[in-house]
């Protein structure tokens, strides 16, 4: 467990690094020139653009465009200087490594946390100050030209948004910097930061022209969460040994396969019984917390669905199946139920959905996988709510329509979701002494064991039950 003791002593030593790096940065024209341009020239240009655009659109009777453009440009003026922070942060560790100045620093009595804080502050502070200055220059110009002042809440939002965007970019870039072996590789990896940020700014632009400024708070909150994850990841992945040791970035498929297969086979050898008993059990124990999280999430999803039933109520005549049960079996057969083909279709669909959810989970620390698995239970909750609103017993609906196959399918979803959260979280928190890649491969082996050993067989059983048992129960309960 990594503690985050932001004590005075930690900050004191960290700031020694920050001070030196800022002083060095201020002697580098590659940093100074863009900051000056983006702080003074660019806000001036935006100011001119805003004044002209407002005059133009007012002439054509569309002043609303001008009203929306001014806050939008305020956001852009704040964002542009912080883009410099990415460049500084990307080379924070790997740049020192390339210049051979990292080892003396790592040999000093600084803790990992002090080094991390010092570097992060050094990367974020100059561009952020430039950004605030740019905002001031832009607003001063607007006041002089148009007598326009921003509402206080908007100003607070833009400053907060600028700050969290800078810290997210810096935290992500510092992670990249600690995991690459050259500045060139770090710049290539920066796409993983630049592309999401570019998409985010586009989304924010829409919000600004839409004038739904309350949505900015949601974005700010989301970015704070992402930043917390990235900081945790940065501190956890910071490894002096790896920083000094790695000389080249390479994909060693043989070594990767060795790590994966060693973890997958474990102590079981070629005995499937031992594999189930020892290895699957071991992986299950590792994902016990993610299992608890998934159980909580699907329960929450069910209740959210239930709560939304009255909000988005279906017309009563849509709930006809329960009331109108003439030739029910024939109608169910039309959907492919009671047939082997139906089993194959459902199993294929469930496996495809599970694999896709897991794939999404890999790129989102498991979050998207959890959301995908929450959707079906949310829908069940919503439909149960509709049944109740239509005057029927929701337990009858759940017992007949969901439970027979759900007894296998829901645990399978929970297991896959949990294994995927474990897999996604391995990026943030690899096992002690393991590299990120080794940690990920070990988690992938756990995911594979859980999927092959438990979830896939449960999904096959669920498909059988869903095709032959659930419809039979429905017919028996409802008649027809």
């Amino acid at each position: 467990m990594i503690a985050f003791p932001i004590t005075r002593s930690n900050l004191g030593r960290a700031i020694v690094i920050t001070r030196r790096e800022i002083r060095d940065g201020m002697r580098d024209w590659r940093i100074i020139v863009p900051i000056l341009v983006l702080t003074i020239f660019f806000p001036g240009l935006m100011n001119f653009t805003a004044s002209r655009a407002v005059a133009f659109v007012t002439d054509y009777g569309a002043p609303v465009i001008g009203e929306r453009l001014i806050p939008f440009l305020l956001m852009i003026v704040g964002f542009f200087p912080i883009s410099v922070s990415l460049v500084i942060a990307l080379e924070s560790f790997v740049g020192e490594k390339e210049r051979f100045s990292l080892e003396p620093l790592l040999s000093s009595p600084l803790t990992n946390l002090q080094l991390y804080i010092g570097k992060t502050l050094a990367s974020a502070m100059p561009p952020l100050l430039a950004s605030y200055l740019g905002i001031i220059v832009y607003l001063a110009g607007l006041y002089i030209n148009l007598r326009w002042t921003p509402p206080l809440h908007l100003l607070v939002q833009i400053v907060a948004l600028t700050t969290v965007q800078a810290t997210v970019m810096v935290s992500a870039a510092v992670v990249v910097s600690t995991q690459t072996t050259s500045v060139r590789a770090a710049n290539l990896m920066a796409s993983f930061v630049i592309i999401p940020m570019a998409l985010l700014v586009q989304g924010e632009s829409l919000v600004m022209f839409w004038a739904r400024y309350d949505v900015l708070w949601v974005i700010i909150f989301g970015l704070i969460m992402v930043n917390a994850v990235l900081v945790r990841m940065g501190v956890r992945l910071f490894n002096r040994e790896e920083l000094l040791r790695r000389e080249i970035d390479e994909i060693n498929l043989k070594a990767m396969w060795r790590v994966f297969s060693r973890e997958f086979v474990g102590e079981a050898g070629f005995s499937p019984v031992r594999w189930y008993r020892i290895e699957v059990g071991k992986s299950l124990r590792k994902i016990r917390w993610p299992i608890a999280i998934m159980i909580a999430l699907v329960s929450v999803a069910f209740f959210i669905g239930w709560q939304h039933a009255p909000v988005y109520q279906l017309p009563a005549q849509w709930i006809t199946l329960i009331g109108n049960n003439i030739q029910l079996r024939d109608r169910l057969e039309q959907f492919g139920l009671f047939s082997a083909r139906g089993v194959a279709v459902i199993l294929f669909q469930n496996l495809r959905a599970s694999l896709l959810a897991s794939f999404l989970g890999v790129f989102s620390f498991g979050v998207l996988a959890a959301i995908v698995f929450m959707i079906p239970t949310g829908l069940v909750g919503y439909l149960a709510g509709q049944v109740a609103l239509a005057g029927f017993n929701p337990l009858l609906f759940i017992g007949a329509f969901v439970l027979p196959h759900g007894l296998a399918e829901i645990p399978a979803s929970i297991l896959i979701g949990a294994a995927t959260i474990h897999l996604g979280a391995s990026f943030i928190s690899p096992p002690p002494g393991k590299t990120v890649m080794d940690g990920w491969l070990i988690a992938l082996a756990d995911w594979t064991k859980v999927f092959m050993g438990l979830a896939a067989p449960l999904l096959a059983l669920a498909a059988l039950l869903e095709v032959f048992v659930t419809p039979a129960v429905v017919v028996a309960v409802l008649g027809g």
Partner: protein, 310 residues
């Protein structure tokens, strides 16, 4: 001061250092000799708590390298193979930065930086950016950095490698002074005369293992056999071998010289000299035949190679 027991470091399947044990008490210098890639830097990095040993233990300045890394690092001064200065900083700024990182109080820092800069002839250059420094000046600045916090343990990797003879002597004198100051020093070097001049103990490391260690004399005896005495005569002489045969074993001889080894030179040499004087042979010199550390090193490597082959 430095006690390492069976230090081992594996990088995946590569065995970088294998069961290395070292002991360097206060006031002593250990020279770690070995070819590139032998494991010297890995050993030093483990002793600085930058690399975690795969197995084995080490106590440096009273701190455990695994459990008390910050304590170790605070008490070790390290000169790394690449000095890696901050090229936009001046020499004084660079030293001040590291002094502050090591927690040296501002007034002490100022005084110590001044003293060390003077001692190494760097005072005039201290206000210039390090990018303007020559290789040797950069090396000296990095060495000053390693000594700035007055550490009881110094780990020096090639301290004179880039220096001109005058600067190298300055540094060697400084290391000798530091030894008398009761510090434990490990010196990684390829410069064998320097190692011989400065070190109390030599350890030869090869393929991650210590293949020979001891004082220079011990190693010479161990690897090159007992000391050889060399007698040089004022003029060519015949029949010396016969005269000496009962007190020494002749190893080599020429017209006006002879090399022999004796079980106890302290008693054999006076006896030999008196016999030669009795026989009217004029002795020009009697001295121990030179046995270089290079010969020791090469012999150690050769023996290890043949041991590995067999």
């Amino acid at each position: 001061m430095i006690e390492a027991r069976a230090l081992t470091k594996y990088f995946d399947d590569f065995h970088a250092v294998e069961t290395v044990s070292l002991s360097v008490p206060a006031g002593r210098v250990l020279a770690l000799l070995g070819p590139n890639g032998a494991g010297k830097t890995t050993t030093v990095r483990m002793l600085t708590s930058i690399l975690k040993p795969t197995s084995g233990t080490a106590i440096v300045a009273g701190y455990d390298v695994v459990r008390q890394p910050e304590g170790v690092r605070a008490n070790v001064g390290i000169l790394t193979e690449h000095h890696g200065l901050y090229l936009r900083s001046t020499g004084r700024e660079y030293l001040d930065f590291f002094g502050e990182l090591y927690g040296v109080a501002a007034n002490v820092r100022r005084q110590r930086i001044g003293e060390l800069l003077d001692r190494f002839g760097m005072a005039e250059a201290a206000g210039r950016r390090t990018s303007e420094y020559s290789k040797g000046m950069r090396q000296k600045l990095a060495l000053i950095r390693s000594m700035l916090h007055d550490p009881p343990v110094l780990l020096l990797d090639e301290p004179t490698s880039a220096m001109d003879p005058q600067s190298a002597k300055l540094v060697r004198d400084a290391i000798a002074d530091l030894r008398t100051d009761n510090r434990a020093i490990i010196l990684c070097t390829h410069n064998l005369p320097e190692a011989e001049a400065l070190a109390d103990t030599i350890a030869i490391i090869r393929k991650g293992r210590i293949i020979a260690s001891g004082t220079t004399d011990d190693l010479k005896d161990q690897l090159l056999g007992p000391a050889l005495m060399e007698l040089r005569f004022a003029a060519p002489v015949d029949g010396v071998a016969q005269t000496l045969s009962d007190v020494a074993t002749i190893v080599e001889q020429g017209a006006d010289w002879v090399r022999y080894c004796a079980a106890s030179p302290e008693t054999a040499n006076p006896l030999i000299l008196s016999r030669l004087a009795r026989d009217g042979v004029s002795v020009f010199t009697l001295a121990e035949a030179p046995r270089s550390l290079e010969a020791v090193y090469l012999r150690a490597v050769e023996e290890d190679e043949s041991a590995l082959r067999s």
